[in-house]
């Protein structure tokens, strides 16, 4: 019952945000970057459904364009974290010995920095740009992926079907690829869903601080930062981007819960 509600609401919200981003790639009501100082901070009207911002840009168009930025950055971040994390986790869990010890020490060191701090430190080096954020957040999330993959690999590397593959004379690389890697899929998919939500939140937070996607690109975080001085005059400017971030996160969290119930054998029947 709860599983179905989680899957339904989470799936709908996530699909909605993805659809919004896809739609914005093709069409927005107005140009999200087009400024017009004569119509700054206007209330909603027939022409501008959610009003205009501090530079006279259409808020609805910017919300839609912001979905492209957020979803794009989050997907790229998750891809980086999965690529590196799965490789490191597989190597550590399958080869064990010194490789595992060295990778484990690096992992533990990175996990000793609280989440966003590592990303902030990396951004200090990389400078604010879309790829800087993707790389910084991706590297910051890599250790958690590596840990999950390593744990799963360690728990199955001696199982019968892995032994059987070796006994048949299959090479270690083939065994790893064909008989170990697929079993890491379930926990990794669950984690990736959570990472997608975290990446959206982190990118918004960084953009809110001014360290994220550089202006004038539309992002929900920088829209919130820009709306701050007009909070009393135009509350909608502060409310709308936050609602988008919250819906996105709610979708990812509910979908993550549903997938965990479906895929994670630990809580299974």
């Amino acid at each position: 019952m709860r599983l179905r509600a989680n899957l339904l609401i989470g799936g709908t919200l996530t699909a909605g945000v993805l659809a919004m981003a896809a739609a914005a790639l093709a069409w927005t009501p107005h140009d999200p970057l087009r400024t017009n100082l004569r119509r700054r901070v206007q209330p909603p009207s027939a022409d501008f459904w959610l009003g205009t911002d501090e530079f006279g840009r259409d808020v609805l168009s910017r919300l839609m364009a912001g979905a492209v930025t957020s979803v794009g950055v989050a997907l790229a971040t998750v891809a980086v974290a999965l690529l590196l994390g799965v490789a490191i986790g597989l190597a550590g869990g399958f080869l064990r010995g010194w490789t595992d010890r060295v990778l484990g020490a690096v992992n533990d060191t990175l996990l000793a920095f609280p989440g966003i701090l590592l990303a902030l430190g990396l951004l200090a080096v990389l400078g604010p740009s879309v790829w800087g954020i993707v790389l910084a957040l991706g590297l910051a999330y890599t250790p958690s992926v590596a840990r999950v993959v390593r744990g799963t690999v360690l728990s199955i590397r001696e199982r019968e079907w892995v032994e059987a593959s070796r006994a048949l004379g299959n090479g270690e690389g083939y065994t790893l690829w064909r008989h170990v890697l697929p079993h890491t899929a379930a926990p990794v998919i669950v984690l990736a869903t959570s990472l997608f939500g975290w990446a959206i939140l982190a990118e918004s937070a960084l953009s809110f601080l001014g360290l994220g996607v550089p202006p004038p690109a539309a992002t929900w975080g920088s829209m919130l930062a820009g709306a701050r001085p007009f909070m009393e005059q135009a509350p909608l400017l502060s409310i709308a981007p936050g609602v988008m971030i919250a819906l996105c996160l709610l979708g990812a969290n509910l979908l993550g819960d549903a997938l965990r119930d479906l895929l994670d054998p630990r809580d299974g029947p």
Partner: protein, 314 residues
């Protein structure tokens, strides 16, 4: 017990060293010459050479690391490039602000979340349970900086109960200081309540399934005591680990909340230093925050046996 404490301390030590190495190397990745950064592009060649020698930049990298580590261990984190202030006292001053809101917020969150999560687990799948989980998931999904802005909008601008900008330290004027701290504390507490309710609930559900709980009930122990005396200690232990992670994370990562409420905290110091390319401050804050994070988690590990004595046996 003594062996457990000693073992945990010994494990923390290499982690701290590696963390220091990571912070040192991270800031060395920045392209360009630190001396040039400090003196600017127009600096004379001799001045640059002098500064490089003074900073130890002419030494090989491992020697530089050991020199830096030695100075950091004795509390010398260098000077800020922007205003020449010593970094260590600056960090401690800002840390006081962050710590006061974080400690208050986490305490408040624990006081709300642990009883709520336990009661939800006790009446699993009841209407109250579903409502508690839904509320927790919703809180989990609200960005802290947005909740902060909305609270400022409602309580600051519309109702006028609290000041909207500025900061007065609690030490200067207790009442005025408190008014600046209410909203940031409430914001952080509400957000963290979401994670903690889910954790406390999940842990309690696990524990209530166990035989010793059924045994206690069969003996005729009242439900109130079954929950408080039998279930609570075991259910609280995993929550405590989460509390440690959350506290450590907030102490370093409350930058967005501090920005919303214009509080001069540690997170804000780091963000400003990144903007100003003030690398000694960035390096100092990162080292300090990682140190605090490791220490908080160490403290949690040391407290853990109080609730779950099984861990010391292993």
């Amino acid at each position: 017990m003594a062996r457990y404490v000693l073992a945990r301390l010994l494990v923390a030590l290499p982690t701290l060293l590696l963390v220091a190495l990571a912070v040192f190397l991270l800031l060395r990745l920045i392209p360009g010459d630190p001396a040039q950064l400090i003196l600017g592009d127009a600096a004379a060649e001799e001045a640059l050479a002098d500064l490089r020698r003074a900073m130890g930049l002419d030494q090989p990298l491992p020697v530089q690391f050991l020199l830096w580590l030695g100075r950091a261990a004795s509390g010398d984190l260098g000077q800020s490039i922007t205003n020449g202030q010593a970094v260590a006292p600056l960090i401690l001053e800002r840390f006081g602000v962050t710590a006061s809101i974080v400690v208050a917020a986490v305490a408040l969150a624990v006081l709300i979340a642990v009883p709520a999560g336990m009661l939800a687990a006790w009446r699993q799948n009841s209407l109250g349970d579903v409502a508690a989980v839904a509320a927790a998931t919703l809180l989990l999904s609200i960005p802290s900086f947005w909740l902060g802005l909305i609270m400022l909008l409602i309580f600051g601008l519309w109702l006028g109960w609290v000041p909207v900008v500025g900061y007065v330290s609690f030490a200067e004027d207790a009442w005025a200081g408190l008014r600046f701290l209410i909203l940031p504390v409430l914001t952080l507490a509400l957000i963290e309540t979401g994670v903690m309710i889910r954790m406390a609930r999940a842990a309690t559900v696990e524990v209530l399934r166990l035989d010793y709980i059924a045994h206690a009930r069969a003996k005729g122990v009242p439900e109130r005591l079954v929950l408080s005396r039998h279930a609570f200690p075991n259910a609280f232990a995993p929550t405590l680990t989460l509390v440690g992670l959350v506290t450590g994370g907030l102490l370093g990562g409350a930058a967005v909340t501090e920005t919303v409420f214009t509080l001069p905290g540690l997170g804000r110091l780091l963000v400003d230093a990144i903007f100003a390319r003030d690398y000694p401050v960035v390096q100092g804050v990162m080292l300090f925050v990682a140190l605090i994070y490791v220490m908080v988690n160490l403290a949690v590990d040391l407290l853990y046996p109080l609730f779950d004595p099984r861990v010391t046996a292993g």
